[in-house]
C-alpha cells in the first residue's frame, strides 16, 4: 500500500537537504559568479565526516572495539543506537559542527590557488577535486571503501514510532534550512552582498574600487562549502548510511539545475528549484513502486525530464522563474522617503512582520 504520509516526509526531508545545497550554490554562483562544479565534494566530505565521527564515538562510548566498517560494528550499532537519547542528539550536533569546519576548510584550501584567475579555472579545479574525492573514498579502507559506512545513528533513533521519528527529523532539517536561509538572505541584502554581486558583474572593476576580490571569494567559499558539508551530514543521518557512489557528479548538476530553474541570485528561487527537482526524484521512485513493469524505468525518465526542464527554462526564461532583486538596505530609505514605509506598517499592523523583516535584514517597503 502506498503511504502518503511517509512519501511526504521523505520528499520534504530530501527537499530540505537539497535546498541547503541549492542555497549554497546560489551564494557562490548566483551572487558571486564562481562556477562551483564540485559542490558534491563538500557534500560528500560532510557525509563521510559524519559517518566516521558518529559511529566511532558510539562504539567507543559503549566500549566496542570493532573497526567502524565491519559487520560487527553494524550489528553493534543496531543494538546501541537507541540506548541514550542525549548521546544521539549530542553526536548529531557535534557531527554537524565538524562537517561544517572540515568541508569549509577543504573548500577554502582547494580553491585558494585558483581565486586570482577566472571562474573557469575554479570550476575545473573543483570539478576534478570532486571526482578525486569520490575515487579516493572508494578505495580508502578506514571508511569502508566502496561499501561505505552503515549504521549511522539517527538523532531520533530512540523514538519508537517510525512516522514520528521521520517527522522529528524533518522538523530538525527544516530548522537548519530556515537558519541557512535567513543567514544567506541577510548576507545578500547587506553591503557584503553588494560586493559579491559586483564581483559577479565584473571582477576587475570590483578590484578597481578597492574590494579585495580573492579574499572575499575565499571567505565565501569557506562558508558555502561548510554549509554544503552540513547538508551532507544531514543526508548521512537521514539515510543511516554513506557510500562513495552517492556523490557522483550528477548530484552537482542536479543542484545546478535547481538554481537555474529557480533563478540565479534569488534565494526563494533556489528553494523553489529544490522543491521541484526533489519532487521529481521522489515521484519517479513512487511511480516505480506503484506501477511495476513499465516499459521504461521512471528513475531514468527523471533525468530526461530534468534536461528538458533546463532547456525550456533557458529558452523562455533565461534568468529563472524568480528574477533577482536589487539589494535593499538603508540606502533606499534615503531615496524613497519614510512615508510609504509608515503607511505600510500601519496597514499590516506590523509588529510581527517588522520583526521578521528586521531579522531578514531587509528594508521594509
Amino acid at each position: 500500500m502506498f503511504d502518503v504520509v511517509s512519501f511526504l516526509i521523505s520528499w520534504l526531508t530530501l527537499f530540505g537537504i537539497y535546498a541547503i545545497l541549492a542555497l549554497c550554490l546560489n551564494m557562490e554562483t548566483g551572487y558571486t559568479g564562481m562556477a562551483n562544479f564540485g559542490l558534491v565534494a563538500f557534500f560528500g566530505i560532510g557525509a563521510f565526516m559524519t559517518g566516521y565521527l558518529s559511529i566511532s564515538s558510539f562504539l567507543s562510548y559503549f566500549g566496542y572495539n570493532y573497526p567502524i566498517y565491519s559487520l560487527d560494528a553494524v550489528i553493534a550499532m543496531g543494538r546501541v543506537s537507541d540506548k541514550n537519547p542525549i548521546l544521539n542528539i549530542g553526536v548529531f550536533f557535534l557531527s554537524l559542527t565538524f562537517s561544517f569546519l572540515v568541508s569549509g576548510s577543504v573548500g577554502y584550501l582547494v580553491s585558494y590557488p585558483t581565486l586570482r584567475v577566472g571562474p573557469a579555472f575554479l570550476g575545473i579545479t573543483i570539478l576534478s577535486f570532486g571526482e578525486m574525492t569520490r575515487v579516493f573514498m572508494r578505495h580508502f579502507q578506514p571508511t569502508g571503501g566502496a561499501y561505505g559506512l552503515l549504521g549511522v545513528p539517527n538523532p531520533f533513533a530512540w523514538v519508537q514510532q517510525p512516522t514520528l521519528k521521520g517527522l522529528l527529523f524533518l522538523l530538525l532539517t527544516f530548522a537548519i534550512l530556515a537558519a541557512a536561509f535567513v543567514y544567506f538572505e541577510v548576507l545578500s541584502n547587506s553591503p557584503y552582498g553588494r560586493v559579491l554581486r559586483s564581483i559577479r558583474e565584473d571582477e576587475v572593476s570590483s578590484l578597481c574600487i578597492g574590494k579585495s576580490v580573492p579574499a572575499v571569494k575565499a571567505k565565501l567559499l569557506f562558508v558555502a562549502s561548510g554549509m554544503s558539508g552540513v547538508a551532507g551530514s544531514l543526508l548521512a543521518f537521514y539515510l543511516g548510511s554513506v557510500s562513495p557512489d552517492m556523490f557522483g557528479t550528477a548530484v552537482t548538476f542536479e543542484v545546478w539545475s535547481m538554481v537555474i530553474l529557480g533563478g540565479r541570485g534569488n534565494h526563494v528561487g533556489a528553494l523553489l528549484g529544490a522543491l521541484v527537482f526533489s519532487l521529481l526524484g521522489r515521484a519517479s521512485s513512487a511511480f516505480n513502486f506503484l506501477f511495476p513493469g513499465l516499459a521504461i524505468d521512471p528513475n531514468y525518465v527523471r533525468w530526461m525530464l530534468m534536461g528538458a526542464v533546463i532547456v525550456i527554462i533557458l529558452m523562455y526564461r533565461p534568468k529563472g522563474i524568480l528574477v533577482e532583486k536589487p539589494v535593499r538596505t538603508e540606502a533606499w530609505r534615503v531615496f524613497e522617503g519614510e512615508e510609504g514605509r509608515m503607511v505600510f506598517h500601519r496597514k499590516i499592523g506590523g509588529v510581527i512582520k517588522k520583526a521578521l523583516w528586521w531579522l531578514m535584514g531587509r528594508e521594509v517597503r
Binding site: Y183, V186, L187, S190, P191, Y192, G193, R194, V195, R197, S198, E201, D202, V204, S205, S206, L207, C208, I209, G210, K211, S212, V213, V216, K219, L220, V223, E324, P326, V327, T329, E330, A331, W332, R333, V334, F335, W358, G361
Partner: protein, 252 residues
C-alpha cells in the same frame, strides 16, 4: 602645490615588445594633466602600471610621496587613487545607486563577519546614502538611482564611472578616454563635469584622450607618448606647435 603623482623611469615590456621605456613624468596636485599619443604608444599600459595591474620592470611610482608600484589594484584604490577604463566597466545589471554605494572605502557592512548584524552597519549605510544623494542631485543624476546601469545612456555611464572614484574619496583619478565614443557636445559635457569637480572638490585628474580638441581646452599640462617613450611635454599650446608631435601624429 607639489606633484601628487610621480612616475620615475618606468619601463615595462611584454615578451620582446617594450611598451614603456624609461618614462618619467609628474602630475601636479589640483591639475588636469593630459596624456596623448598614437594608438599603441603605451598610454593604457602606463595607467595599468600606476593603478597596480602591472608591475613595472624597473622604475618607481610615487603617489603622495609613497611608493605604490607592486601594490594590488585594490590597495592602490584604498590609498586614494582611482581609475576608469577605456570601455566603461560598470556593474551593468545593478542599479545606479548600488554601483555608487559600492565605492566608499572600508565599509563596515562589507566584512563577512559583521554583515549579518544590521545594527553595526545600518547607520553608516544611511550616512553614505545621504552623501550619495547629495552628490547625485548636485551632478543632476539623482532620478536615475533606480535604473539598471545597462539601461543608461553612454554619457551617463561615463558620469557614473567617474563618480565612483570621487565617492570613494580618491584624490587622483586616472581617466582613460572619458569622451571616447561620445558625440562632441556630450564629450564636452563630460569634460565640463570633470572641470567643475576639480574646482569644487580639489581633485586631480590624469586623462588619456584622443579628442585633442577637447582635451586642449581643459588640460593644464600635456605629456605625449610615442612608441613607449615620452616625446614631448608642456602647456597645450606648446605641445600643439611641437614639430615632433605633429610628425608622430601625422606620420612623417
Amino acid at each position: 602645490m607639489g606633484p601628487i603623482l610621480e612616475v620615475q623611469g618606468v619601463s615595462k615590456s611584454f615578451g620582446g615588445v617594450e611598451a614603456l621605456k624609461d618614462v618619467t613624468l609628474k602630475v601636479e596636485e589640483g591639475s588636469v594633466t593630459g596624456l596623448i599619443g598614437p594608438n599603441g604608444s603605451g598610454k593604457t599600459t602606463l595607467f595599468n602600471v600606476i593603478a597596480g595591474f602591472y608591475q613595472p620592470d624597473s622604475g618607481r611610482v610615487l603617489f603622495e610621496g609613497r611608493r605604490i608600484d607592486g601594490l594590488n589594484p585594490d590597495e592602490v584604490y584604498n590609498m586614494g587613487l582611482a581609475r576608469t577604463f577605456q570601455n566603461p566597466r560598470p556593474f551593468s545589471s545593478m542599479t545606479t545607486l548600488e554601483n555608487l554605494m559600492l565605492s566608499p572605502r572600508g565599509q563596515i557592512g562589507e566584512s563577512l563577519a559583521k554583515a549579518p548584524l544590521r545594527r553595526l552597519w545600518s547607520g553608516e549605510e544611511f550616512k553614505i546614502a545621504k552623501n550619495i544623494k547629495d552628490f547625485m542631485s548636485r551632478v543632476g543624476i539623482a532620478d536615475l538611482y533606480k535604473m539598471r546601469v545597462s539601461d543608461l545612456s553612454g554619457g551617463h555611464i561615463k558620469m557614473v564611472e567617474t563618480s565612483k572614484g570621487i565617492l570613494g574619496g580618491a584624490r587622483l583619478i586616472l581617466l582613460d578616454e572619458p569622451a571616447a565614443g561620445l558625440q562632441y557636445a556630450v564629450g564636452r559635457g563630460v569634460f565640463e563635469y570633470i572641470n567643475s569637480l576639480r574646482k569644487s572638490l580639489n581633485l586631480t585628474f590624469f586623462v588619456i584622450e584622443h579628442r585633442i580638441d577637447l582635451l586642449f581646452d581643459f588640460a593644464d599640462y600635456i605629456y605625449v607618448l610615442h612608441m613607449g617613450r615620452l616625446l614631448s611635454e608642456g602647456k597645450p599650446k606648446e605641445v600643439a606647435s611641437d614639430p615632433e608631435v605633429i610628425r608622430a601624429y601625422i606620420g612623417g
